[in-house]
Subunit: 359 residues, 2 copies
C-alpha cells in the first residue's frame, strides 16, 4: 500500500507540538473521543451489531472516527479500533460481553500455545484496519491529522494469558517471575507484530502513532523496564519515522507510569502520555526537552460543571507553562457517563486559555 | 480503658526500625498475613460464619491474628479486622458477597445523608475491635508488637459513596469536583472518627498503627493532597504518640502513592508504606532520614519458585542498602492463591540475607 495522494494538512498543531515545535495554541484531542458518551456513536454501534462488527467495517469505523470532529474543534482524529486486534488475528478469538470488557475464546494456556504463535502480517491479516485508516484519511480531506495506535506487547500479553481483564494479573505475573524466558518469547513475537502493525497503519495513512501500555503500571519498577519498556523501545526503533515529507511522531502512554518518565523518555519516542496522577509541570522538569508531553486531565473532572472544568484546564495549562511541547488530553479515556457538553467545555477552554502560553 | 499490664516486649525490631533505630536484621511482616492463603484461617472462617462474624468475635479475631505467627518467625502481629468498621458503626450496614468485596446496604446518596453522619465513639460503638486488640495483646505474651490500623478518610469515603468497590470512582469524584465543600465535610467527620478509633486501639494495646489509603492513588496529584493526605496529616497530629513508655510509630500507606513520597514524608508519620511499583532505593534517596520505609515486594513474586523469591528478596534488600529504617513487607496484601511455603521462603530469606545490611 502506498501513501494516499492526500490534500495538504490544514491543521498541523498536533504534529508540530509532538515534535516540540512552536504552535499558536495548545492542540487538544481526547483518548476514546469516538465512544459511548456520544449518542451518535451509540446509534452507529446499534446499526453495526457487535463492537467488533463496528471495528471490522471500514465505512462504519470511519463514520464513528469522524463523529467527534463534527461536534468539537479537535486537533486530531484517532483511528476507531480495539487494542486487541493483534491477538485476535493470532487466532485467540476476541469477543465482548456487555459490561465485562474484552475476552478471548482461546486464551494462552501452555508453553506450546505460546510457541505456536506467529508474527502477524498486518496488511494481510488486519486488512480491515488498514482499509479503515485509508478511508478515514480520504474522508478527513486534510482537516486534521489521523493518529494510529496499538496496545503494547505487555498489555496484549496480559489479556492473552488471563483471557480478559484481570484484578491482579496472577497468571501473567506468575509466568513473568517463574518462566521469564517464555514471557520474553511471547513479548518478542508481539513486539514484531506491533511494529509491523503500526508501520502498516503509517503506510495506509496514519500521521502519528500511539502505543497504549494500559497495564505497564501494574509491574514493579524493574519488571516494567525488562518486560514492557524494553519491547516498546524495540518497536519505536523499528517504526517508519517519516511519511509524506514529514515526521511521524510516536507517543508512548503507560497508565501508572508516572514514576518512570525518565526511562520512558529514553525509549526513542517523541512524546509521553501522562495519566492524571502526575503533575505535568514536574514531569516537564524531569524529562526536559527530550520529549513532548500529552495529557493529563482527570477524566472525572468532566463530571463537574463547566466552570469547574474551565478552572481545571487553566491550572493544567499553567502547570505545563510557556512554550512548545504540550498536547492537551485527558489522563485516560473519556468515560461513557460524561455529558458531551462537558467535553465541549473542556475543548473550548483549551482554545480560549492556551494562546497566551504560546507567545 | 487503660494499657494492659503487659509482659516486656521480647522482639522490638519492628518498633525500632519504624523509628529508624539500629536493629540486628530487617524486621518482616506481611499485609493481610492472617488470611485466606492459610488453611487454618479458612477453617476458622468456616467456624465463624460470615467474615464480619469473624471480625466481631474477639476470641476468633485473636485466633486468626496469631495463626501466621505460629507458622512463621514474623516480627509483628496485625489486628485482624476490616477497614470498613467505621462506616459500619455509622449505620451504613456493611456486608460481603462472596467474590465481590465489601458492600453497604445504605450507601450515601444525598447531602442530607452526609450531613446526618456523626463522629464514631469507638470505645462504645466499636468495642468488639478494642476487645480483640486487648485479647490479642494478652495472648501475644510480649512475643512481638501488635499493629493496629484503619482505612484513610478518602478510602472510607469512596466505599460509602460508591456503595462498594468501584472501577472509576465516578460518584466520589463527581462529588469531589462538583461539591468539594460537601466532600470536605464528610472527610472531616471521617478524620475525627479515625483519630478516635486509632487512639482507642492504642489505649487497648496497639503498639504501632497503620493508615491504609487504598484508593488515594486514583486521585490527581493536587486532589491527593487536598482530599486524602491533608486528612491523614490531621489524624497523625491527633494520635497518641507514646504508650507504655515507648513511641507508638505511625505508618502511612497510599497504594499508588509513589510519586508523592516527599509530601507524604511531611505528614508527620514515622514511616511510609510503599507499593511494588516504587524503587525503594530511589525512595530512600528522596525522603532522606525523615521517615522509615516499609515494603515493597510485588505480592505476585510469591507465585514464583522459592529460589526466585530469594533472589527478589536479595535485590530489594540491596536496593534499600545499609543502615536502619527498613521494614520488609509486600507491596500490598498477600493474595489467596499463594502457597504458604512460598511466604515462608520469603521470610526465611529476609532472616538469612538481611543481617549484613545492619553492621
Amino acid at each position: 500500500m502506498s501513501p494516499n495522494k492526500s490534500p495538504e494538512l490544514k491543521n498541523d498543531r498536533l504534529l508540530r507540538a509532538l515534535m516540540r515545535q512552536p504552535v499558536d495554541r495548545t492542540p487538544v484531542w481526547m483518548m476514546r473521543q469516538a465512544g459511548r458518551y456520544l449518542p451518535e456513536y451509540r446509534a452507529s454501534r446499534a446499526r453495526a451489531g457487535s463492537f467488533m462488527d463496528l471495528c471490522r467495517n471500514p465505512q462504519l469505523a470511519c463514520e464513528v472516527t469522524l463523529q467527534p470532529l463534527e461536534r468539537y474543534p479537535l486537533d486530531a482524529a484517532i483511528l476507531f479500533s480495539d487494542i486487541l486486534t493483534i491477538p485476535d488475528a493470532m487466532g485467540l478469538g476476541l469477543y465482548f460481553e456487555e459490561g465485562e470488557g474484552p475476552k478471548f475464546h482461546r486464551p494462552l494456556r501452555s508453553a506450546a500455545d505460546i510457541e505456536a504463535l506467529q508474527v502477524v502480517d498486518s496488511e494481510r491479516q488486519l486488512d480491515y484496519v488498514m482499509n479503515a485508516v485509508a478511508t478515514i484519511r480520504r474522508e478527513l480531506h486534510g482537516r486534521v491529522p489521523l493518529i494510529g495506535f496499538s496496545g503494547s506487547p505487555w498489555t496484549l500479553a496480559t489479556y492473552m494469558i488471563e483471557g480478559g481483564s484481570s484484578r491482579d494479573f496472577a497468571r501473567s505475573k506468575q509466568m513473568l517471575y517463574d518462566k521469564p524466558e517464555l514471557m520474553h518469547h511471547l513479548l518478542g513475537v508481539l513486539a514484531a507484530s506491533v511494529t509491523d502493525y503500526l508501520n502498516a497503519q503509517i503506510r495506509a495513512g496514519a500521521q502519528a502513532v500511539q502505543i497504549f501500555d494500559t497495564w505497564g503500571g501494574v509491574l514493579s519498577h524493574a519488571a516494567y523496564r525488562e518486560f514492557s519498556l524494553q519491547y516498546m523501545s524495540r518497536i519505536v526503533s523499528g517504526l517508519i519515522r517519516e511519511a509524506e515529507g514529514r515526521p511521524v511522531p510516536v507517543i508512548l502512554f503507560t497508565k501508572g507510569g508516572g514514576q518512570w518518565l525518565e526511562a520512558m523518555a529514553d525509549s526513542g519516542a517523541d512524546a509521553l502520555g501522562l495519566d492524571w496522577t502526575t503533575n505535568i509541570g514536574s514531569a516537564r522538569a524531569r524529562v526536559g526537552d527530550r520529549v513532548a508531553l500529552q495529557g493529563n486531565l482527570d477524566p472525572a473532572v468532566l463530571y463537574a460543571q463547566p466552570e469547574r472544568i474551565r478552572a481545571e484546564v487553566a491550572t493544567l495549562l499553567e502547570s505545563f507553562g510557556e512554550g512548545p511541547g504540550h498536547v492537551f488530553n485527558l489522563g485516560h479515556g473519556i468515560t461513557p457517563g460524561v455529558d458531551p457538553r462537558h467535553a465541549g467545555a473542556m475543548i473550548e477552554a483549551v482554545h480560549e486559555l492556551s494562546p497566551p502560553f504560546h507567545g
